[in-house]
């Protein structure tokens, strides 16, 4: 093993952490701010991934595409498409409360998955879309990963700063008020339904962006990627473990969970070969155990939501 190999692996982990952190940030807007139990992250992830894939990939027989637009247009399109899909879904589903909403969104994600698998003209069906361009993809292995990590990190920082600003702004306080006491917020004259829809759409747009980053990194997207295990529940674990309601917590949760998820396989590889296949399941066990421990001993997550709901020290800023 060489140093360059380690660097490559670290870069790869960084890219994946960045992508998952975007998904966790999106979920934090929906669950952490507004208390919307969205169990259909995979659906918006898929919408974003496929939208960007269709907009940027070269043309292929039998499906829509061939626009070959630059990648940032694709990413912007991914956010818009995910938001547009989220609008009618939110309009209908957000009338449900907590667990009913969870069931409805699982159903929606499944519908999206089946549409993607079946509509060959749109998405090439079960075969998926390949030859998606990756920015700086022509560089050698290390440099290409490094460049992509820089892009992902930049996108994540921008998203974080914007979401963090919203958290501190009156909008964020209002969302938390609606989450904690809907009747009181309504009595104050807040339009609860409209605000919930806003949070749902903003969150979905970030999830769509995460999907687009994922598709361009792999240069391909197939329906196999819309697996609820890795695209929905892993994100939930990240947010709960990191601390829902806290944007730094969302990013930290993504970091910790992905590192455990990925590195634990290297640890199990040190076991004797006859256990090599069986030991792979230890990863699933570790994630479950970790979630149990956090829920038992630190239910608010590693970085809990700031108590006063305001992380600024300066009192004179926007009131």
């Amino acid at each position: 093993m060489e140093l360059i190999g380690l660097a490559n692996y670290a870069l790869f982990m960084g890219i994946f952490i960045g992508i998952y952190a975007l998904l966790a940030l999106g979920l934090n807007i929906q669950w952490g701010f507004a208390g919307l139990f969205n169990a259909g992250i995979a659906g918006f992830f898929a919408v974003g991934a496929y939208t960007s894939a269709i907009l940027t990939s070269p043309s292929a027989d039998g499906r829509l595409g061939g626009f070959e637009l630059p990648f940032f247009v694709g990413w912007f399109g991914a956010m818009v498409a995910a938001a547009l899909i989220a609008w009618p879904i939110g309009k209908i589903c957000l009338r449900f409360r907590s667990d009913y909403l969870a069931i409805a969104t699982i159903g929606v994600a499944e519908i999206i998955r089946l549409v993607i698998k079946s509509e060959e003209v749109l998405t090439n069906g079960a075969r998926g879309i390949t030859n998606i361009p990756r920015p700086f993809g022509d560089l050698p292995y290390v440099q290409s990963q490094l460049a992509y990590l820089a892009i992902v990190a930049a996108v994540l920082v921008v998203a974080y700063l914007m979401v963090q600003r919203q958290f501190n702004a009156p909008w964020g306080r209002m969302m938390r008020a609606i989450r904690d006491n809907e009747l009181a917020a309504r009595a104050m004259g807040k339009n609860v339904e409209y605000r919930r829809l806003e949070a749902f759409i903003f969150g979905a747009a970030l999830m769509g962006l995460g999907g687009a980053l994922f598709a361009h990194f792999n240069r391909s997207i197939t329906p196999e990627a819309i697996d609820p295990m890795v695209a929905t529940f892993l994100v939930w674990i990240m947010l709960i473990l990191g601390g829902s309601g806290n944007n730094k917590g969302a990013i930290l949760g993504a970091t910790v969970v992905w590192i455990i998820w990925s590195v634990s396989e290297i640890a199990t590889d040190q076991l004797p070969h006859e256990y090599a296949v069986k030991a792979k399941y230890i990863r699933l066990f570790l994630i479950g155990l970790m979630l149990q421990l956090v829920l038992r001993f630190r239910p608010e997550g590693i970085l809990p939501e700031p108590l006063r709901g305001d992380t600024r020290t300066d009192d004179n800023a926007v009131k």
């Binding site: 380690l6 290297i266 590889d269 699933l284």
Partner: protein, 400 residues
């Protein structure tokens, strides 16, 4: 925040660096499969078949200068996320010379696109059958020992047309396997001026497919072509089509050639049922493999074990031929199995090693076929059409 992240990442990386420092002299080949996930039932036997090849290499003098060949197992979970993660670790942390796998097409596409093609590592998938893999811009590093679904679909269409089937309906399972086969079949059947009177995908695991079948039958075809799995949804469809008399004749892809329909429906009811399936090459290769794999405690009839074994053994030969140079593996892989040179059967490592050392050309004859790769790194398959006889499936005609 940032320092925390760096501290965590650094600590973990240091730990792995220490853990990975052992066993430096070994030559490693990655075995990336869907250990967890939807094909978890198939993956262990595929991996053990590949391990058998490495075991034979080590028993017969090892690789290069007597070094040990080690298979590094990675879990792709049958999805792109897991596939890229496992491939990155195999390439960068374990430093593998080549990779057998990943098992699922989506994982192959993602791992190739983001890891192995940029890193210049050769991958041979034993079970990724999606036609999309053919078109990858792969700098000649992505191969497979299993024929593309495209190939089987076209061969089946030609054979059926020759056998006098002119008007058929097609029912296929909605995944990359079913879609790939059905599309290729349709294109070729229509090119041969046959008529497709119904063409519909179905989701698996439903209790009733009578409405799907009724719609397919309304096109007026008397033959139903089923691209599905004979021990799953395909059985349900076949049973309900027989019970309700929707169709008279039935044709299946390789997934339908399973003992389940015969056991469940009875051979007497399947007189009009034929299925296509890959057959082992006429040479002794398959027998040699079957015996060795049985002796090692495996079931040689399990799906994709022959292709897994071949992929592993060929990569071992290629690494030997390339002298351990990772960048040279893909070129060497073409040289050791291009139809010219002295024939090497499964398990004949010692003989192959001597011939390579002497500079003689060799040609590997695998358990699943000759594996003479075409320009895209695909192999043509050897297929036959089977009918149901008194003792189960019997070969009816070779498919061209």
């Amino acid at each position: 925040m940032k320092s925390k992240f760096i501290a965590i990442a650094g600590g973990l990386l240091a730990a792995t660096a220490l853990a990975g420092a052992t066993a430096k002299a070994d030559v490693k080949i990655g075995l990336i499969g869907g250990v967890s996930g939807p094909i978890a039932a198939m993956a262990p036997s595929m991996i053990s078949a590949a391990q058998l090849a490495f075991q034979q290499v080590n028993e017969q003098g090892g690789i290069l200068d007597g070094e040990k060949l080690v298979g590094v197992v990675g879990d792709s979970a049958c999805n792109p996320q897991g596939g890229t993660d496992a491939a990155t670790k195999a390439v960068n942390i374990e430093g593998v010379s080549a990779i057998v796998g990943p098992h699922c097409s989506g994982a192959v596409l993602a791992a190739a696109g983001s890891v192995t093609i940029p890193a210049g590592i050769t991958v041979v998938t034993p079970s990724g059958t999606s036609p999309e893999i053919t078109g990858l811009d792969d700098k000649d590093t992505v191969f497979r020992t299993v024929p593309s679904d495209d190939y089987q679909g076209r061969a089946l269409a030609r054979t059926l047309k020759e056998k006098g089937y002119n008007k058929v309906a097609v029912a296929y399972i909605n995944n990359d396997y079913g879609t790939g086969l059905a599309d290729a079949f349709k294109a070729e059947f229509e090119a041969q001026s046959g008529e497709i009177a119904g063409f519909a995908a179905h989701e698996d695991g439903k209790a009733s497919y009578r409405s799907n079948l009724a719609e397919l039958a309304s096109g007026g075809a008397d033959t139903l072509v089923i691209f599905d799995y004979g021990d799953g949804t395909g059985l349900t469809i076949l049973r309900q089509a027989l019970e309700n008399g929707f169709f008279e004749k039935f044709v299946g892809g390789d997934g339908m050639k399973s003992d389940a329909p015969i056991n469940e429906l009875g051979a007497e009811n399947l007189a009009t049922f034929v299925a296509s399936s890959p057959v082992g090459e006429k040479s002794d290769s398959l027998d040699v493999f079957n015996e060795a794999y049985k002796a090692a405690g495996g079931d040689p009839d399990a799906i994709f074990v022959t292709t897994s074994y071949d992929a592993a053994f060929m990569l071992a030969l290629a690494v030997e031929k390339a002298g351990g140079d990772k960048a040279g593996v893909s070129a060497a892989l073409r040289e050791i199995s291009n139809g010219e040179g002295e024939a090497i059967l499964p398990g004949e490592w010692e003989k192959a090693k001597k011939l390579i050392a002497a500079g003689t050309a060799i040609d590997y004859k695998g358990a699943a076929g000759d594996h003479n790769f075409d320009a895209a790194g695909d192999v043509p398959g050897t297929y036959a059409l089977f009918e149901v006889g008194a003792d189960g499936f019997e070969v009816m005609v070779e498919m061209k």
